[in-house]
């Protein structure tokens, strides 16, 4: 197990065109809406998804280039390891957010509470299940 490939299953449109505009987390998104366009080859994979209220998205921080293992998070005065943060600048550049599903179309998903940049590649979608995922 050294390196392996991953590739997008779709891309999300959001109102956030730059890092300065994007909220730091979904809870700061003020309900911002997004639309995930699923790539044709993966369309069957969303069959039945309309019954879920929340979805977990794993996405790729496509605008992040470098990371530091130690960093000073916003509103903090303490140097911390990158794995104690949600920073987009991290090894493997993967992001995670739970969004609310508003509408499932034939080849798209309308969602709210998005915090990612416009054009972000979506790597995986999993149903959020409160009994499993809430702590």
């Amino acid at each position: 197990m050294e390196k392996f490939f991953i590739e997008p299953i779709g891309f999300i449109k959001t109102p956030f065109k730059s890092k300065a505009e994007a909220p730091r987390q979904t809870i700061y998104s003020k309900g911002a809406k997004g639309k995930i366009k699923i790539l044709d080859k993966y369309l069957e994979g969303i069959k039945g998804i309309e019954k879920y209220k929340y979805l977990m998205l794993i996405f790729y921080f496509h605008k992040s280039k470098n990371y530091h293992l130690l960093e000073m998070p916003p509103k903090s005065n303490e140097v911390r390891g990158v794995f104690t943060t949600r920073s987009p600048n991290r090894p493997n550049s993967l992001g995670f957010s739970v969004v609310k599903l508003l509408k499932a179309g034939p080849d798209y998903l309308k969602v709210s509470n998005v915090d990612m940049l416009d054009g972000t590649p979506i790597i995986d979608i999993k149903p959020y299940i409160s009994d499993l995922d809430k702590k």
Copy 2:
């Protein structure tokens, strides 16, 4: 944005040597314990992690080879898209679990509620923050 590489930041030891032994989800793990060995080059990244009670792990389903976009989940009689399931057989083969942090060592993390196979590559660790992640 076509394909990109990701690589492990560490590996987890768990009691589950085969798919038949592994619980389907963390809530069925009966508190099973695991030990994440962080690779030397990423060690600084866990600095300060001991203050978190729960961690989100993104990991690689290294034993999964094929997937079907449509599948029949266990205990179901309905064909569903793979993105409505937590199946390990999925595009990009990424798994997600929230585990409890028991102890942070210099180069390892002892955790409980693990559901992954022994030797699973860990791709990312993020703090689970109830206010952000609970729905």
